[in-house]
Symmetry: C2
Subunit: 211 residues, 2 copies
């Protein structure tokens, strides 16, 4: 079986989620840096792998997997140990819900494409507001679901989504002191080896000045 | 066990996905119309169920489930028959990928909140462009995955997401003749009883003039 290949970019939230999952599950892979700002995702060659021109794409088991949450579910089914979804049905649902609140309702709305439409003048304020209102709802959800991490005391797919979102919140200068639960969980997670390994500043394509 | 309750709105894409799943799986439920334009989702009472103030929320098995794709996964695990995810790992991944392309990368970007930021003058053009570019990528993905439906010849969660997205495409006057695969699959699905039952025009809160 050939080594998995991940098309990724150091700062991309959705790539980061998958990098953390691969690190959690101890899967070694080839890192294919795909420079989003230079537009490398728009090449004809890459579009054959991923018609959306989005990263990540994960080549694994002879397949070309797309969409981060779909990749996480696939890895969970093919490599269940250690688990990233709880066994208990309610907790499983909570983990997926938190992952989707971030991945469908916050991150895509503060992403480059929307920021361009909002315009240079207003984009920082827009991104900040989107993240802030998203985190307000998330903080209330986590008040019901969290233990040490987002859902109980084990790391789940929810946590893999949380850390990149907090990183984005800081980029947009959101006042994180308003979100004590999110901040505490983020702090806990940031000390775990797979989260350190997958952090943007530890990727080969991270520019020196951001390390 | 008490009857499940679905907080829904006739025209909401994400509610519609869940209505179709409930119909596919033959689950009877109480329909709680939640008028988004009147702001009923913003009430304190509703926020206790769903801090994001979003629909749908599904009360089932003593739980309050949120986020449509998470609800679909939960229903699949608790009520697997008939299945909405294929058994084959590659096909499962494809079904989730298509569902997420629509639910994370198209629908949220043409949703009310973003349209408001884009402004009244440009919002129709924005929504049309977002849907069109999303469907262009989706058409290419479906060229590889589809059979009679989005993934092979069985209805999956991908199809539950496709039909509401095509409905939105028509609202934004996207030229659907550019997407022959999507159009053909949508046509097939629209003839199935669960899709007819869950269609906006067949919901109790659909205004007479839209029926």
């Amino acid at each position: 079986m050939s080594k998995p290949v991940l098309y990724t970019y150091f700062r991309s939230s959705s790539s980061w989620r998958v990098r953390t999952a691969l690190a959690m599950k101890g899967i070694d892979y080839e890192y294919k840096a795909t420079h989003l700002v230079k537009g490398e995702q728009l090449s004809d060659e890459y579009k054959k792998l991923n018609p959306q021109s989005l990263i990540p794409t994960l080549l694994i088991d002879g397949q070309k997997l797309k969409q981060s949450l779909s990749i996480l579910e696939d890895l969970e089914e093919t490599r269940p140990d250690p688990p990233l979804l709880p066994k208990d049905p309610l907790k499983r649902s909570q983990a997926r819900t938190v992952a989707l609140i971030i991945s469908a309702d916050i991150q895509p709305i503060q992403n480059l494409r929307v920021l361009k439409a909002v315009g240079d003048e207003k984009k920082m304020e827009w991104g900040k507001n989107v993240i802030q209102s998203g985190l307000e709802a998330l903080e209330k959800v986590l008040a019901e679901t969290s233990g040490k991490y987002c859902v109980g005391d084990s790391v789940t797919i929810a946590d893999l989504c949380l850390v990149p979102q907090v990183y984005n919140a800081n980029r947009f200068k959101v006042d994180m002191s308003r979100f004590p639960i999110i901040s505490r969980i983020n702090e806990e997670l940031s000390q775990l080896e797979p989260f350190i390994k997958s952090h943007p500043s530890n990727q080969p394509d991270c520019p020196e000045e951001l390390k």
